[in-house]
């Protein structure tokens, strides 16, 4: 899986020979005639999702919300409640796995599966640093947007299969919301793709590499880039059903939305998928606009901060941290804002975000063609 062939000849930077070395080496690892390395490559994002959902997603969110709400959060299980998530998982594992008598059993069971697969498959094109990527596709970004949309099928299956009116409302709202918000999100991402001239995730990162750190990021390379950046961030909130767009699972209206009827591990899998896609959209926004695994620190004279903080491990650190930062902002919004109404949500999407996304698209196109 060599990336050299994918790069155009006029590539502006010196091609780092160490790109994707770890994942390439892993993919060639065979044990007993089995492609053992490929399994490891697939397992790494899975382990990452699980670990991050456990630590940052559940425990972190509870502690962050507690901090914002003037309370302590989980304090009982372990020191400062750090084992709380573990206790939650044990509880969920013990729970009876109930399938409604009147539910459509096939759809009910397959729903969370599709949801999780949709969220998880996107991680294939997510570069965890310069040396590791599951598959450096030349249409990586397109693939990521497309495969995340698969979640809609899972949500609809879960909501319809539950045979519960509230779940159905949640599913229908969710599908309408995700399908609508994909348009401004995709146009905003397209703006980034125009600036880069590529759809490959690794090339996005390479193009934003440079000794001045954050100044090379696309957000600061173009005077209009902040507009698609904000549009994509808002749209990504809606796509992952986070507040203030958590309308599909609005607990005070629809109890829990499309997963009202789920118990035990199926419920946990739905949550895992949600946290997975939360990180995915955060990673996409940091790759497209904020340099992905590149260090934001600039070289200042003799202090070559950028050089010191560049490398495979540093790359992984930066992309995870950038993703976590956006997840933190998502949590921050969730614990601050009330929820929009369904029609207001659609109004925001079709009458505000989409026109502005088009405006940004045209302006960036003009800038890229005539000014730059």
């Amino acid at each position: 899986m060599s990336t050299g062939a994918l790069l155009p000849n006029s590539f502006p930077f010196v091609m780092s020979t160490s790109l994707n070395t770890w994942s390439d080496a892993l993919s060639e690892l065979y044990l007993f005639g089995l492609p053992f390395g490929l399994i490891i490559i697939a397992a790494i994002p899975l382990v990452f999702i699980a670990l991050y959902a456990l630590t940052y997603g559940v425990y972190g969110e509870r502690k962050i919300s507690a901090f914002m709400q003037d309370r302590l959060g989980p304090m009982e299980v372990g020191k400062w409640g750090i084992l709380q998530t573990l206790a939650d998982i044990l509880k969920l594992l013990q729970k009876e796995d109930i399938v409604n008598k009147s539910a459509d059993k096939f759809l009910f069971v397959i729903g969370p599966g599709i949801l999780f697969v949709g969220a998880f498959l996107a991680f294939a094109v997510l570069p965890f640093g310069p040396a590791f990527i599951g598959a450096d596709l030349n249409v990586g970004l397109f693939y990521a947007i497309g495969i995340v949309a698969l979640e809609v099928v899972g949500i609809l299956a879960a909501g319809w299969g539950s045979n519960n009116k509230w779940a159905l409302y949640g599913a229908i709202r969710s599908v309408a919301q995700i399908v609508s918000y994909e348009i401004p999100a995709a146009i905003a991402i397209l703006c980034g793709a125009m600036m880069a001239g590529t759809l490959s995730m690794q090339q996005f990162n390479l193009l934003q590499q440079g000794e001045y750190g954050f100044l090379h990021f696309f957000l600061f390379q173009n005077p209009i880039a902040w507009l698609p950046f904000i549009i994509y961030f808002i749209a990504s909130l809606a796509e992952t059903n986070r507040a203030p767009f958590d309308i599909p699972e609005a607990e005070s209206e629809l109890v829990a939305g499309y997963f009202t009827e789920y118990t035990g591990m199926k419920f946990a899998v739905i949550f895992l998928a949600e946290y997975g896609s939360m990180f995915m959209v955060s990673a996409i926004i940091s790759i497209v606009f904020l340099g992905g695994w590149n260090s934001p620190l600039p070289n200042i004279g003799p202090l070559s901060l950028n050089d010191w903080t560049t490398g495979p491990v540093w790359g992984a650190f930066w992309i995870v941290m950038k993703g976590f930062f956006f997840i933190f902002v998502q949590m921050w919004l969730r614990w601050t804002l009330p929820r929009l109404r369904v029609d207001q949500l659609m109004h925001l999407c079709w009458k505000v975000l989409t026109p502005f996304a088009f405006v940004a698209f045209v302006l960036i196109a003009v800038w890229e063609v005539y000014v730059k």
Partner: protein, 400 residues
Amino acid sequence: MQELGKAEHKSVRVTPKSENRVVIEKDLSSEEMILNMGPQHPSTHGVLRLECKTDGEVVIEAEPYLGYLHRCFEKHAEMVDYPGIVPFVDRMDYLASMNNDFAFCITVEKLLDVEIPRRVEFMRVIVAEINRIASHLVAIGTYAIDLGAFTPFLFCFRDREHMLNLLEWTSGARMLYNYILIGGIAYDFPKGFKQRTAEFVKYFRPKALELQKLLTENEIFVKRTKGVGMMPADVAVNYGWSGPMLRGSGVDWDLRKEDAYSIYPELDFKVCVPDGRFSNIGDCLSRHLVRAMEMEESLNIIEQCLEMMPEEDGFDPKAAIPKRIRPKAGEVYGRAENPRGELGFYIQSDGKSTRPLRCKARSSCFVNLSAMKELSHGQLIPDLVSIIGSIDIVLGEVDR
């Protein structure tokens, strides 16, 4: 063109004449869906059940079904003597027990002709107003949670905790106080209570402002509440609304002013009616605003009472309580301004018994809730949640 449009419109209905035109429509049954909301639902504030006829997300009709928390208050009241009714009254509107006690006690006192010590009157007003703020905080907090804002709810409960501590300190109970008695009050304020209450008033003012910035001025919150659940003043009066609900519709009506019971006429406070600059008069936002403003007014009342309250050493708050409460024959209707509106008691006494012949409670929430059908017609489900939240029902009082 217009002709064509009309014909199109007609074809939606499946009639024998247009049979050949709408073949697809025949297979698709497009009737309304009955959606059962409650009694176990997070935003029905207890065990209210609404049977909603919905067309998509639009609620055509919402019929409230009550009685899931019925505890036979009126029958119980006939079975126990007058002081024994007070704990039952506590459990009606469990978020404003002091105010309930207050309303019941002034009703019985009307039949009794007892002289209430002046200090007791002030104590009653102080605890009732503290409880009014606590109750409004729950109303505002749960309203925020109905609209999806979690943090204001916890801020409200954090501040309410201070009030519950104050009331627990003086009455011994956190929620169901049994503190205001017929002809008196159970215990004198403990030493330092006045100072602690003054400190609380000082603490709470900036917190109320913080709440206003976080919730009331939030654009999404305003979007969700402004113009939703409109109730014109005349319809509100016809439904018998009272309290913040009626004032939200722009009617200047507060029993503390109208009836001037207890020492309220001596106090300087204003009736909170929204002026229509920030909200449309009669919508959910107005009702929310009334509650927010009333908290400020209650703080003013508490401050004044603390200043004006006569100090007496070795004061016995139970001195005026009659040994045996046996009112003269007759009937009486007494009412007081509760956080949720007018709470009235109709009591009939035969003059011989220590128990009332009949005791009827006029519940404010029950009357306010009766307009649900009118309010919910043609609203979206999220707006229905918003409307229920703005009515601020306590099912304990609705069902009694």
